[in-house]
Point group: C2
Chain length 220, copies 2
DNA sequence: GCAAAAGTGTTCTTTGTACACCCATGG
DNA sequence: CCATGGGTGTACAAAGAACACTTTTGC
């Protein structure tokens, strides 16, 4: 049985959730993937696959699930979240084209990769309810308004700004940078940065997450 | 890279949580495991490994995590829960001995399997908070007292019987069988059976689970 | 001075938690 | 008749959800 790694990479841009895909030789698009990784850890292989396809490196990855493909090959799938603004993408060697696709308007993918994207999305949404996933999708400094916008994209619904502020600040997942940014019209917003810690958006989401959720944090 | 499957099998017996281990040739104990499964799905290979080692079949399995072992082999780990009373174990071909070990008093295991057991346990405890895992660890018909006892073992703390009853019944995860069982002294208890559905023991646990938790239900 | 986004507190409802008593049986 | 486990309901605490108004800027 051959072993492969495949990475579902998500970003939030222009009010939408997007997936990173590349084209190597033929016409079919593919997730960042690597064939039999020789004497490398799976995690390294996944990071390598992303770098090889897009030039992006230093991104945290989380193992998602291991799919078998007709009993002949196993594909160890990973999830990665990046801020597209901070990490510009460019085709690596042997890569014809890399780009972001809206998650709900993907081209035909290589065999079995739809399932990887679908599961990555499910996991991402589940994590939304208890982990500060948005900080991985935002620049170093960001406003609470931007952060809320990311959550609204991930959850597909509007959030109450007052409760959002209160919950995020109470959870201690962000800290004030002291700086302020005037973003055109409107009162300037304070800029925050990540401070670690966990976060749950609201109880309704938590319940939903539980209902579709199971796992744990990966070992190691 | 070679592919293996390994299964962490848990049961609750005599007020303790136990793990199924077997010995094949040498002196070292091992989880049910199978080498390169030829043209079989991973799930089938995991079920086969359990049957091969212990004779037990027809048990639901859930994929846990894929570990890499020094970049040479990947081990796809599974979690299984069984009622030891309903599924007696016996050594399969080429198996010298199979038995249950208390989870906190395991012998030396084959390379890397401690991590599989540890992670299986973590996942099992996390699932406790939102899934009716106890029904997999109980006979067809059981009393709420027995069910509560299983949860108390998994959680390692006492539960309030009144709240437990209310929550379990409200969640609709069990249904009355109409039968009653006199278990020695005390008022006879009604017998219930599983009715599907989800269940969370209590909010404190839910929070704890969230804090250590991440995943989702596996695909498919 | 007005449109637009940021920032602040309070009330209400739901959920969870703690807790006291009666019931049915075996010994 | 009493010890043992089964079964029921209620009062209190905590968390989440809904909601109105003031502040600071660009135009």
């Amino acid at each position: 049985m051959r072993v492969r790694v495949e990475v579902a990479v998500f970003t939030v841009r222009d009010g939408g959730l997007e997936v990173l895909l590349g084209r190597v030789g033929g016409g079919t698009w593919s997730l960042p993937a690597a064939g039999p990784p020789e004497a490398r850890s799976l995690d390294d292989a996944a990071a390598g696959a992303l770098e090889q396809m897009s030039g992006v490196r230093g991104i945290a990855m989380e193992q998602l699930y291991t799919f078998d493909r007709a009993g002949e090959e196993v594909a160890v799938a990973y999830l990665a979240l990046i801020d597209a603004g901070r990490h510009p993408i460019g085709p690596g060697a042997e890569v014809v084209e890399v780009r972001w696709f809206p998650h709900d308007d993907l081209p035909t993918l290589a065999e079995g990769q739809e399932a990887v994207v679908a599961y990555g999305l499910q996991r991402l949404r589940a994590k939304t309810a208890y982990a500060p996933v948005a900080v991985n999708l935002l620049p170093d400094l960001f406003t609470l308004g931007e952060m809320q916008a990311v959550y609204e994209v991930l959850l597909g619904r509007a959030l109450d700004a007052r409760n959002f502020r209160r919950d995020v600040l109470r959870a201690g997942v962000v800290e004030e940078s002291g700086e302020v940014r005037a973003e055109g019209r409107g009162r300037p917003a304070r800029l925050y940065r990540s401070a670690g810690g966990r976060f749950a958006v609201d109880a309704r989401e938590r319940r939903a997450a539980r209902a579709i959720s199971s796992g744990d944090d990966p070992p190691a």
